[in-house]
């Protein structure tokens, strides 16, 4: 029994990081109806920012978080103007292909620089031991930081003018334009924000597990499941969806071979698309 509870707690801890990763994906979709297929590559970018700062420069691991947010934001805004801006309002396949191309370019560059060898950033924080089970300090810290960052995003969206503008553009771009909101700038800001969130989730994941240039794909796929669970375009739902996914993983693992977990996850993905197309947590939509 303790094993099942431990598994569920671990699931919730990692689920909050999945949720943070998916928030970036869903924010971009919600505001500009673009599915960012470069999401996984940007998660990897966040991982390597941690690696460069902690291992190569010897700086404290969690100090990489504000740096990743800053770099991610600037990178995201640049990416918006280079690859996304001209695709806004066009068929969704266009932006899908554009961001997929960016994904291939980023992974290609990453492979050329770092190869596809695994990188490891040892981060040591005392964990909590319960019986024979240990919850590692890095998992607990990652969950806390994911919650804090999600809280800050909430404040930004609901307590600031720019947040109000983002929500207005997401709601009705033409009306926002008529109200005098510079919607193009708002779109680029939102894209930068989404990329920064993806990057920072990568940084947090890299404090937990070794990673390679190709690691982003797994988190991108989980991001899709989480956004569908939480409701496309709903950042708060994404966090809840991430926690729900972690919870399901944690609950299912003691009762079935771990190699079956992806089948459960993606089965759930299809089920949600059919039964709850607006997401299980649609009630909390902004």
């Amino acid at each position: 029994m303790i094993g099942i509870v431990a598994s569920v707690i671990d699931g919730v801890l990692i689920g909050s990081v999945y949720g943070l990763a998916a928030m970036g994906l869903t924010l971009i979709w919600g505001v500009m109806k673009v599915i960012n297929l470069a999401h996984g590559a940007i998660v990897v970018l966040g991982m390597f920012i941690l690696y460069l700062m902690a291992s190569a420069l010897g700086l404290p691991a969690y100090g990489a978080i504000p740096v990743t947010i800053a770099i991610g934001f600037v990178f995201g805004v640049a990416l918006y103007w280079i690859a996304v801006h001209r695709m806004i309002g066009r068929p969704e396949l266009m932006s899908l292909l554009a961001t997929f191309s960016v994904n291939m370019v980023l992974i290609g560059l990453g492979t050329a620089w770092w190869s596809t060898s695994p990188y490891n950033v040892p981060v040591s924080i005392p964990g909590v031991t319960w019986g024979r089970y240990t919850f590692t300090g890095t998992h607990i810290m990652a969950a806390i930081l994911a919650a804090v960052i999600a809280g800050l995003l909430y404040l930004l969206l609901y307590r600031t003018r720019v947040g109000k503008a983002i929500r207005a553009v997401a709601n009705n771009r033409e009306a926002a334009e008529l109200a005098g909101i510079p919607t193009t700038q708002v779109l680029s800001f939102a894209f930068g924000l989404g990329v920064a969130l993806a990057g920072v989730s990568g940084t947090l994941i890299a404090t937990l597990f070794p990673f390679t240039v190709l690691s982003g794909e797994a988190y991108q796929l989980k991001g899709f499941v989480v956004t569908v669970l939480g409701g496309l375009g709903n950042p708060a739902g994404a966090l809840l969806g991430g926690i729900a996914l972690g919870l399901i993983e944690g609950l299912a693992t003691p009762f079935m071979p771990v190699s079956w977990i992806p089948i459960v996850e993606f089965g759930l993905f299809v089920f949600c698309l059919i039964a709850f197309p607006r997401g299980i947590f649609a009630f909390s939509k902004a």
């Binding site: 094993g3 671990d10 990692i14 597990f209 070794p210 993983e249 944690g250 771990v258």
Partner: protein
């Protein structure tokens, strides 16, 4: 006068031709996983092959009768993918005109490459491919350097039995062909030794979070963990076992701990053991080629890193092929295959002998594996040979 000049030139040319042996190029093709999940071990294997090429060519090449062949390696990145291996081996044979082949890394990719090499009747020396099944399909021109997958955990189980007659074993392995081959052998062996497996589960090679699996290992009350797969997953599993204080007395993982990079895990590496095809400390007396110490030194001089068994396997593949060509006195594939069939030699890599039984032609039947374990000596992480006892350089940590 002009006629005299021409005659003089012709005479000089004839003299030169008789004085120096003919110099030709021998093209050997292979793919390496320069990118993708198998990158780490495959790169080591490629470095071993390239070191062999450099050393052979520095000595003038492979001498066959009056002809000396300079080795020309043609290689491509297979991206750790079977579909690329299929395309690239066909390309190596048809476009690059490779006369001989060396395999890619990993059992799954070797099996794929073998389909192409057999189709074209090319001799392929395989390294980094332990799974026996590939050699039991009636192939005629495949020759395996590694000990088979069934040998991987046999030593570990015997060594473990001496320390603990009734271990509770959790067996957790990657769901790739090689690890599944090892798994099938372990189940048989454990049964014949009267041991039961407290947990028997596979995981996807792309797994990055082993927390749920480690919780299951703890819940199964296991005190021993056997398993793993390749580098990326094995290194991650070892790190998380340490962080989650899994409380195991014995951990043997496939492949990953053999890489010198495994030491980057720091204290998480201590006590982790690995079945190894070769270690720098072995003391084989070679019939030809470098000694283990000479190979190790040359590798470190070139790449600034100690070789693991993947690198040694790469070099050995080249060396065995070279020997077969020299013994055959020809670069004709049939004659070289005959020489490989008759081969019974010891190199720095150990004993090499290929099965000629049609049911398992080319399977390695001479080579023996060792068990190595990461230990701390004078504050430094070092890999010691701990099994078999007559080859050990340190006692097992248990």
């Amino acid at each position: 006068m002009e006629v005299f000049k021409v005659l003089l030139l012709a005479a000089a040319a004839a003299l030169a031709a008789t004085a120096a042996p003919a110099q030709e190029t021998l093209t050997i093709g292979f793919t390496a996983s320069q990118t993708g999940a198998l990158n780490n071990d495959s790169t080591a294997q490629m470095r071993g092959i390239e070191l062999w090429r450099d050393e052979v060519n520095a000595k003038g090449g492979i001498k066959v009768g009056g002809t000396t062949y300079t080795v020309n390696l043609v290689t491509y990145d297979d991206e750790s993918q079977g579909t690329r291996v299929q395309q690239l081996y066909a390309r190596l044979i048809t476009q690059d005109k490779a006369q001989f082949l060396i395999s890619p890394y990993s059992s799954g990719l070797v099996a794929t490459a073998a389909i192409i090499s057999e189709q074209y009747g090319k001799v392929m020396v395989t390294t980094g491919g332990a799974l026996e099944k590939t050699y039991q399909l009636g192939n005629k021109n495949l020759f395996q350097i590694y000990s088979g997958a069934s040998q991987y955990l046999a030593g570990a189980l015997q060594a473990l039995r001496e320390k603990n007659p009734n271990p509770r074993i959790a067996f957790v392995y990657e769901d790739d062909p090689f690890s599944k081959g090892v798994a099938a052998a372990v189940r048989e062996l454990a049964k014949s030794m009267g041991l039961t497996l407290a947990l028997d589960e596979s995981y996807a090679g792309s797994t990055t979070d082993f927390t749920p699996i480690i919780n299951k290992i703890i819940s199964s009350n296991a005190d021993v963990l056997l398993g793993g797969g390749h580098y990326a997953d094995g290194a991650t599993l070892a790190r998380q076992l340490y962080e989650q204080k899994a409380g195991l007395k014995w951990v043997t993982l496939l492949v990953a701990p053999d890489s010198p990079k495994f030491a980057q895990l720091g204290d998480a590496a201590i006590g982790i053991s690995v079945p190894s095809q070769w270690e720098p400390q072995v003391t084989f007396k070679p019939d030809f080629g470098p000694s283990p110490a000479q190979f190790t030194k040359a590798f470190i001089d070139k790449y600034k890193i100690e070789p693991g068994y993947h690198a040694a396997g790469g070099y050995a593949a080249g060396l065995i092929l070279q020997r077969a060509i020299e013994l055959a006195g020809s670069v004709e594939p049939d004659k070289v295959a005959d020489a490989l069939n008759k081969m019974d030699v010891t190199t720095f890599f150990g004993h090499t002998k290929f099965s000629t039984d049609p049911k398992q032609h080319g399977l390695q039947i001479g080579h023996q594996m060792v068990l190595a374990q990461w230990q701390k000596r004078n504050g430094q992480l070092v890999k010691e040979v701990v099994w078999p006892t007559d080859a050990k350089t340190a006692d097992i940590l248990y």
